[in-house]
């Protein structure tokens, strides 16, 4: 449908930060076996770089492989091809043993806030688990809850007494507590009301950058990504079709798919115009 050789140079844009990139994906591919035999390439030759103190937005529609890419970055899936390197260390898939120490700097916030927290353990205990990784980070349970705008007594409660938006904030607090260098958000706002999405996204961005981490923010919602990302990568059918600084993607999109995505965003102007109609 769309040609993928239109953006070969853009697909491996140089990271703005000096020195080696914090996270590097080199021609990564991931395959799933299909029921009727044969293989499906969810991710097909993706190369990306993430610099220090940078927010990279990854956008694409359902089925494009962005969640699989998130799992590859965290080592939750094994690449069929290519390598993932974090801070110079190769990211090995998570097996039965403990996570390799050098990889603990990668943390993730998941899409489903209702499954992100253990329903039978108190919030405090779950935050403490993360704090144990980063004792010198300066965070405490109280300061974490404060940072995500939740009252201090939340620590004593269980996850079922919180709404989706609140649970997601707790999940963000937990990820931050571990002192990550790379925070991966796998559609962290998709399950939330539209009114909360921008706020939570901005909160994630601010907290990540302020604590010195970089963030990969995966979303199908371009407006929110525009709000918080420094660079945006557009993904279609397992490939990155365009990567550019945010403003450039908005003002001067190159790839037809990017243009199509941008055209589909409804404007909140009250004019009653459905996107795509002339």
């Amino acid at each position: 449908m769309t040609s993928i050789d239109q953006a070969p140079a853009a697909a491996t844009a140089h990271s703005p930060a000096a020195g080696a990139p914090l996270l590097e994906l080199d021609s990564v591919a991931c395959e799933y076996k299909l029921d009727g035999g044969g293989r499906f390439r969810a991710v097909n030759g993706v190369s990306l770089q993430l610099g220090r103190s940078e927010v990279l937005g990854l956008v694409g529609e359902s089925g494009c492989g962005k969640s699989t890419l998130a799992k590859l970055i965290c080592g939750l899936e094994k690449p069929a091809d290519g390598t993932v390197t974090f801070d110079g260390h190769p990211v090995r898939a998570l097996g039965l043993k403990k996570r390799a120490k050098e990889l603990l700097g990668i943390q993730m916030v998941f899409q489903n806030p209702y499954a992100s927290l253990n329903p039978r353990r108190r919030i405090r205990d779950q935050l403490d688990d993360a704090l144990a990784l980063n004792p010198d980070g300066g965070w405490t349970v109280e300061s974490l809850l404060d940072a995500v705008d939740l009252p201090a007594d939340s620590a004593q409660r269980y996850s079922h007494s919180f709404s989706g938006g609140q649970r997601q904030r707790i999940a963000i607090a937990r990820a931050l507590a571990a002192g990550p260098k790379v925070l991966v958000g796998d559609e962290p706002i998709a399950s939330l009301d539209a009114f909360l999405q921008a706020r939570i996204a901005r909160m994630m961005r601010d907290l990540a950058i302020d604590s010195g981490a970089s963030m990969i923010f995966i979303s199908h919602d371009l407006s929110v990504v525009r709000d918080i990302a420094d660079r945006v990568a557009v993904m279609e059918a397992g490939r990155i079709v365009e990567v550019a600084p945010t403003d450039q993607i908005w003002n001067d999109p190159q790839h037809p798919y990017t243009k199509k995505l941008l055209a589909a965003i409804p404007q909140v102007d009250g004019k009653g115009i459905i996107p795509g109609s002339d």
Binding site: G138, H160, S163
Partner: protein, 310 residues
């Protein structure tokens, strides 16, 4: 390294009002209090019956009007002023025998259920978490046990081991563990893929720690419910084994054995009837309690309550 004071989100003021989320409504209070409020009438009835039986069992020697083993009374006499529930073929007081029998049956049943729940859950959790070869082996053995009707298999094992309460317990243990294994396995398999478990692994938990600290608390409630309901079955199976002379050794009073005896003395209906009634009440009591526990502890019901409505 700086703590990293977070910038305030651009559109929310730093006030208590913000904490209370003008836009994020949170859960209503009624939705949180709901789980604690549930106490079904049946559960209370079940608990009441169980408490009565516990008292009866503990104080049996004091409550029993006569010695359970003494063959003093006219044989096969119907319930009357002296022997409230009649006497059996050897002239023993039925009421006393029933009360004393509770002292062996109840603890034995609870013990066997606890053991099989523990054994089954551990095996099921290992199968569910580690998968592949371990899973196959454990589940195929479980399938083997499931292939036989419970009482038949228990009979065969008890017969092979010889009569006696201890052997009856072992037999029941060996036929009961697979149900727990199966339930625990599927619970663990579901939990294993949950985001919170993955989050734990990303925080550096080993598989073992993940299993013990994160997954176990979520698995305990359903297993407890299953175990409670299983006590009734255990009592029935033990009674069945005793009925076939494979359980408690005479002259120790035992409900199943008493029923067995009563069957051959059909005219003296009270010999089988009252022990049968006892089994009925206890099994019902445990079933009521189990159902009530399931309603209150079931994560689905609890979670349903936790979701917001729009």
């Amino acid at each position: 390294m700086s703590i990293g004071t977070p910038k305030q989100p651009a559109n929310a003021p730093i006030t208590e009002a913000a904490r209370r989320d003008p836009v994020d409504p949170g859960l209503k209070r009624w939705q949180i209090r709901f789980p604690k409020a549930l106490r079904t009438p049946l559960g209370i009835v079940g608990a009441g019956i169980l408490v009565l039986w516990l008292i009866a069992a503990i104080f049996a020697p004091l409550l029993a009007p006569f010695d359970a083993l003494a063959q003093n009374f006219p044989r096969l006499s119907a319930p009357n002023g002296e022997n409230l529930l009649g006497t059996d073929t050897l002239g023993r007081d039925v009421l006393s025998r029933i009360l004393v029998a509770a002292r062996t049956t109840l603890p034995a049943a609870v013990f066997v259920v606890i053991c099989s729940a523990l054994l089954g859950s551990v095996l099921g959790a290992i199968a569910g978490y580690f998968g592949r070869a371990v899973d196959e082996i454990i589940m195929r053995i479980a399938d083997l046990v499931f292939a036989f009707p419970t009482i038949i298999l228990a009979m065969v094992i008890a017969a092979a081991l010889g009569p006696g309460l201890k052997n009856a317990i072992i037999a029941i243990l060996l036929v009961s563990w697979p149900s727990y294994a199966r339930v625990t396995r599927s619970l663990v398999m579901t939990a294993r893929g949950s985001e919170y478990v993955i989050a734990g692994r990303l925080l550096g938990f080993s598989a073992g720690r993940s299993l013990a600290r994160e997954i176990a608390p979520n698995v305990i409630s359903p297993v407890v419910v299953l175990a409670t309901l299983d006590v009734g079955s255990a009592i029935l199976t033990m009674a069945g084994l005793s009925f076939l002379s494979l359980g408690a050794v005479p002259p120790t009073p035992d409900w199943g054995a008493m029923i067995s005896e009563g069957v051959s003395q059909f005219a003296a209906w009270w010999i089988a009837f009252f022990p049968g009634l006892c089994i009925l009440t206890i099994v019902m009591a445990f079933n009521f309690i189990g159902d009530s526990l399931r309603d209150t502890l079931d994560p689905h019901t609890a979670q349903e309550v936790g979701e917001t409505t729009s």
